[in-house]
């Protein structure tokens, strides 16, 4: 899907071993497959079905998403940062597209 834009909020810096809050938002219609258009025809399902967050290759969170997740999926969760590194956020679309976003964090 085109024009999908992800936004992620991660602190720029943290202390070693600190737990940091992460917020993610991605714009996507999350068409449930249960909605009908003006002519009464079912609109086919088209959603993001999986979201993952990794830090330096280690899993923080892996979400299996169903059509009951709202339009523009939003997630808020927490991660432990043992050292400086990069968060990688990945969203998997039903249509095969994959959207990624990365954020660096400096750990002192």
């Amino acid at each position: 899907m085109e024009n999908v834009r992800a936004r992620v909020r991660v602190p720029r810096e943290a202390a070693a071993g600190e737990t940091v809050e992460i917020k993610t938002l991605i714009n996507h219609p999350m068409e449930s497959g249960h909605r009908r258009d003006g002519d009464g025809n079912l609109v086919p399902r088209s959603i993001i079905n999986r979201f993952t967050c990794e830090f330096n290759g280690e899993v923080v969170m892996d979400v299996a998403m169903q059509p009951s997740i709202s339009t523009n999926p939003y997630f808020e969760f927490f991660a432990v940062v043992p050292e400086s590194g990069t968060f990688t956020f990945t969203w998997y679309d039903d249509d095969g597209d994959v959207y990624t976003e990365t954020k660096d964090i400096a750990v002192s």
Partner: protein, 138 residues
């Protein structure tokens, strides 16, 4: 076998009626939960589910669930067309086993969160959310 015009009409009618009967969603949720827990009993201590008592807009209902020590938390609904909303798997770097998101609710119903703990036990929390305008485009 000869299929008469009347039979064809009747079959069409039957199919239309079958399609119109709403899926019995509560049974749906029970089945989905059983598939997740394997029928195990779930405790109630150590899991917190935060959802509004009244949601004006069922398209966008904030839900937050926390269960310290959980490996996986799944959110279910009792009256949505699909019972399972999402499954959160916490990795080794998840700081707190807490997740917040926004979900759709087709009508007034229970939101149920079930956590699978590291020792294989399950915790369950539920809350009824009254929905003024349903989501899912119904």
């Amino acid at each position: 076998m000869q299929i008469s015009r009347r039979d064809t009409l009747l079959m069409g009618l039957g199919a239309a009626v079958a399609a119109a009967i709403p899926v019995r969603a509560a049974a749906n949720a029970d089945a989905a939960i059983e598939a997740f827990t394997g029928g195990a009993q779930a405790g109630a201590e150590g899991i917190t589910l935060i959802a509004p008592e009244i949601a004006e807009n069922g398209n966008n209902v904030p839900v937050s669930v926390e269960a310290p020590g959980a490996e996986v938390i799944t959110i279910f609904t009792t009256a949505n067309p699909e019972a399972t909303v999402g499954t959160f798997s916490f990795g080794p770097l998840s700081g707190v086993q807490l997740a917040s998101t926004r979900i759709r609710l087709a009508e007034t119903q229970d939101v149920i969160a079930i956590a699978k703990m590291a020792d294989g036990s399950f915790l369950r929390a539920s809350q009824e959310v009254k929905v003024t305008i349903g989501g899912c485009g119904g």
